[in-house]
Symmetry: C2
Subunit: 477 residues, 2 copies
């Protein structure tokens, strides 16, 4: 049914996954390049996804006691330098403001790559007593990292995100919050984006600059590459010591606070594309689909067809996001366009349907067509959107499981990454030299030490020494 | 009833309005200064107001056909310079990024002070045919203007706002959209923020850099100073010619688009403070109050009191934003704190109330106390919040009318601004020399040429030549 002209414009993902991705981003009008090198414009169809994602993630934050704030986008150089590991990690990739108006600045300012230092400077004044704790703040903003190679949504010099920053009286409470937010991200990915994730801890090599421990959720894209989808960091009292954030505890002694931070970004739109998309374009999880039901009238010039289409829209739009495509394009073109844009359900209604008192619902994910009596349409749409969500999650989980391999030695390891793509579970001795060697040889990085540990073998996949941890390895975006 | 310690900390507004403002901002914990000169942190109580304002303004945008997008925060210098008037207006007050990572940039980038140039660069590629028009896009973001003197919410080097940017096929449609958005802002101010505004056009001297016409809504603060509260600009085809934004019209000829832009900022939080606040602190309009009903238990340790307070919260929180203050502070302290933070209603409930099957509602705006039977509490809260909104709007309107004066000549004009403060309606010949002279002599600027014109006299208040327009004049923030 789909119109040839529109569909032929997409490269098939089996042929060239990277080009398929770029084609989808472009044809679904999610974002575009700009005159500003490495920066993109997020177009209405892309931004609407971000707004839905943001709204639902923020609702979950608020239920978890998070309060939103807004801190400046600029960080004075001296402030960035207060925590040694942190500045080493970020200084090479920040943008520097050196002039304000016509004057050179006395101290240059970097455009925030992340805001730990600003939050520390803020908390230093806000926190005096144990009564002022915990602080559980978050901000929605854009950040800048001067990347050399960029890709739409996945890596750009400026991107949108949220960054949560908390301060606690005890180490235990900080660790609890770190894990709580990681779990929140994981549930959000599965329940809202229909993306299954592996939860675990980053190795020291891969952890955040200045963190004691970094936890991550990792998802697997359709091409077998991994995507870090959200991270949660426990800083211990390292930043507090560097910035002097102390409070008078109940026992009247001065103590340093314990801090965490956690973030999720617009790259999740990239994850949605690469986990769910197919060769007809985008496939949107119903909960973040700006249009959940695209109503497409058939023979719309015939009497009563458009009226019925708008009547259905009015009935459905109390509970769902609905749009009627009443443009003068052909139905086939409209079908292809609705497929490209990934709307979960297409509702077809024509003169014959009206006569029979029914309409046709077509699932984007499976293309299954279901005839529905007009009086049942609300209930059926509600049911199908739920089914689509859980089927999408299940398919993504199956795909991940089918592309998760086991390696006991380097020969196996190398064979998998030569012939296949996916996650590899393998044991690790805990030494960075092995990580470095694996990266050098296979261009593979440790994704995480999963919370759910298994014993694949007794020895490190790389050096053969006694193993400490089972690690998920993969090629990553 | 209010606790002395908390209240004494505020300067009275009659004594020192500027200090009163600063005290309210600080004590109501809306925002604070930071280590980044001229930039502020918006704290949870302030940001929650912004979120409610943003949500309701955005809902109105969406009903008006506006689509949200996100464009980069950086503007290459060459792009900023394409429209002559625009660059002259903004270049002296932008922040310049000169280094990315460790490398100097080939072309320096300014941090957006506004995004007309970026939207033009975007539209140039997006708009080919009349079918691509209109474009009615908006973005929520922060912008930077390197101000020398700053004040919380009113003027800071970085502030949050929305900026709408549209492109149209005809001049008429662009003008219609400009006025439509101005009216939307005016309605929003009155219906959501309870702030009455004067709608009008800016003089050429005061219009936006690069605009054909700038329309504005002006509000009057409690101290008689004016605040520009939202602007809507019609650019004609000036930017389109500078950037080459052309489309093939129905008649197959290439035409330039006609453009508009319009914005509202976090300074509206300043307007809320200065229009509605009093000597006990903030007074929030119910529709943007993060807490609409503060429940304060009396003798909360007595059996059943806290239970009843939480029961009331659960009943009310389906329809309203409600919070129980069950801290161990005294009721008097809690009252003062709820007043300082401007919550529209306080609900007092103690053992005697429970026995009598009633509670007490106290209005923040009038301090009126109303006894309500417990079974009627939802209905009464709903009614009171509506009444509070319309009373606040009415009081602000009365204040403005009582502080709007008429001047027929410079002597009257000068006398008013020596003895009083407010809007002055006076005739103007249309020459900038008179505006300049009035500004020099009285530190007064033309706020707008109101849509509702009156004839105060036949001659210009300044030069005595024939008058063209009646103008609202004032001292402004």
């Amino acid at each position: 049914m789909a119109d040839k002209k529109l569909v032929e414009a997409i490269t098939s993902m089996e042929e060239d996954f990277a080009q398929w991705y770029t084609d989808v981003v472009k044809k679904a009008e999610l974002c575009d390049y700009t005159s500003v090198k490495g920066c993109m414009v997020i177009k209405p169809a892309g931004y609407a996804i971000w707004e839905l994602l943001q709204r639902q993630l923020d609702d979950r934050f608020k239920k978890a006691g998070v309060q939103n704030v807004y801190l400046p986008m600029f960080i004075p150089e001296s402030l960035l330098q207060k925590e040694k590991d942190h500045v080493e990690g970020f200084a090479p990739e920040v943008a520097w403001v050196t002039h304000g108006g016509l004057q050179p600045l006395q101290e240059r300012l970097c455009v925030r790559p992340t805001s730990e230092t600003l939050f520390c400077d803020f908390y230093k004044n806000e926190v005096q007593s144990y009564r002022d704790l915990p602080k559980v703040y978050n901000q929605w903003c854009s950040v800048v990292r001067w990347e050399k190679e960029t890709r739409p949504f996945l890596r750009s010099r400026e991107f949108l995100w949220q960054e949560g920053h908390t301060a606690h009286a005890t180490a235990e409470e900080a660790e609890e919050r770190t894990i709580q937010m990681l779990n929140l991200y994981a549930d959000f990915c599965e329940e809202v984006l229909a993306i299954p994730v592996v939860k675990g801890q980053k190795t020291d090599k891969e952890k955040f600059a200045g963190a004691l421990a970094t936890y991550t959720i990792e998802s697997l894209m359709h091409d077998g590459k991994a995507l870090q989808s959200g991270t949660s960091h426990n800083f211990g009292d390292g930043f507090a010591r560097a910035f002097g954030i102390q409070f008078a505890d109940k026992d009247n002694t001065l103590k340093y606070v314990h801090q965490t931070s956690w973030g999720m970004t617009t790259r999740m739109i990239g994850a949605i594309i690469m986990v769910h998309g197919d060769n007809s374009g985008l496939v949107l999880p119903p909960k973040v689909a700006p249009i959940q039901v695209a109503i497409i009238p058939i023979q719309q010039k015939k009497e009563g067809v458009l009226e019925k289409a708008f009547e259905l829209r009015d009935r459905l739009s109390g509970s769902f996001r609905v749009k009627v495509d009443d443009t003068d394009k052909s139905p086939g073109f409209k079908f292809a366009e609705a497929e490209m844009r990934g709307f979960p359900l297409r509702l077809e209604i024509g003169p014959k349907d009206i006569e029979a008192g029914k309409c046709v619902l077509c699932r984007r994910d499976t293309r299954e067509k279901i005839e529905v009596a007009l009086e049942d349409v609300e209930a059926k749409v509600a049911e199908l959107l739920e089914t689509i969500h859980s089927d999408m999650l299940e398919r993504a989980r199956t795909h991940r499981e089918e592309h998760t391999y086991i390696a006991k030695d380097m020969a196996e390891f190398e064979k998998i990454f030569t012939e296949k793509a996916g996650f590899v579970k393998a044991m690790w001795c805990g030494n960075q030299e092995c990580e470095d060697l694996i990266k050098e040889k296979l261009s593979v990085t440790s994704r995480c030490m999963p919370f759910e540990q298994e014993k694949i073998s007794d020895t490190c996949v790389c050096c053969g020494r006694p193993a400490q941890k089972m690690v998920y390895w993969g090629r990553a975006y």
